[in-house]
Assembly symmetry: C2
Homo-oligomer: 192 residues x 2
Amino acid sequence: MKALEEKILRDGQVRPGNILKVDSFLNHQMDIEFINEIGKEFHRLFGDRPINKILTIEASGIGIACIAAQYFGVPVVFAKKAQSVNLDGSLYTTQVESFTHKRTYDVILSKKFLTAEDHVLVIDDFLANGCAVNGLLDIIESAGATLEGVGIVIEKGFQDGGKELRARGVDVKSLAIIKSMTDDSIEFAEQD
Amino acid sequence: MKALEEKILRDGQVRPGNILKVDSFLNHQMDIEFINEIGKEFHRLFGDRPINKILTIEASGIGIACIAAQYFGVPVVFAKKAQSVNLDGSLYTTQVESFTHKRTYDVILSKKFLTAEDHVLVIDDFLANGCAVNGLLDIIESAGATLEGVGIVIEKGFQDGGKELRARGVDVKSLAIIKSMTDDSIEFAEQD
């Protein structure tokens, strides 16, 4: 998505530890008009699938998923980072390691909101080592739901998450894929 | 907002400890079509103010704020629950006590995204004892920004948050105000 690459080049900031800050438009301040363009693009890419639910994970995926869901006409369900996991059997649970925060946390989703009937599009802001997406795929598998695809805003192509998911046959589409980045430059992978 | 009261009566569940679960449409699964109606209602109530930014707090406020922001044509900024607060002066910080989780956490907002030029509408899903909103008002005050109003989806009118904010002159508008609730019944306050 050309407009996204341009926005990353203009407003993104590379920080030590392979951190790309896009907090001026994507995940702290949110440019809602631009995120609508992102939502339209996800619909262009996945609109031909029988998707009836969008799944994301708190916190920064939520707004993007909600805006995108308007173009699909479906509800959003977001997995929550758990304060405490109750074990009454009403929740799907999995563990996710955070790349940015260098810690592992429990993630939960109420069983009421994902079942074997569901056809799911996963949406998230970033894909790096793939931990968050893999956690969501665990949950989809536990539910017996059908994964229709994974829509990512920014993929760090120099980390292995996207590669591994595609090798498993998951249909991952990222609106921008960063091939390499340094303090001075960001290079994107060619896309169709 | 009549449609919201009806939805709470139909889909809400009262749980021990004055918990109202509305996770089937508002803060776990999100009914995006209905949340658009909520966004329109916030715009009907606050659309005459010179609002240039919507402020909320992660996680469950984000989706509602993003949908509502479309009707105002403004960006969203969300305060983050901090893993760790850096003290380099680039962040506003405050503390918020969670009613549901019975703990206090640090909340941060990058100073870049809120300044004395800003006219802010605060949006959140719930108002009970007012801790989350008060945290956001602290941040607005630190920034020297102008608070234009507070839009809440569901206010627990039997707790003191809304009363105290209004006594301080804050323009709080809640789309549904619960006067009392028991396992069997939910009663709403009359509204204009």
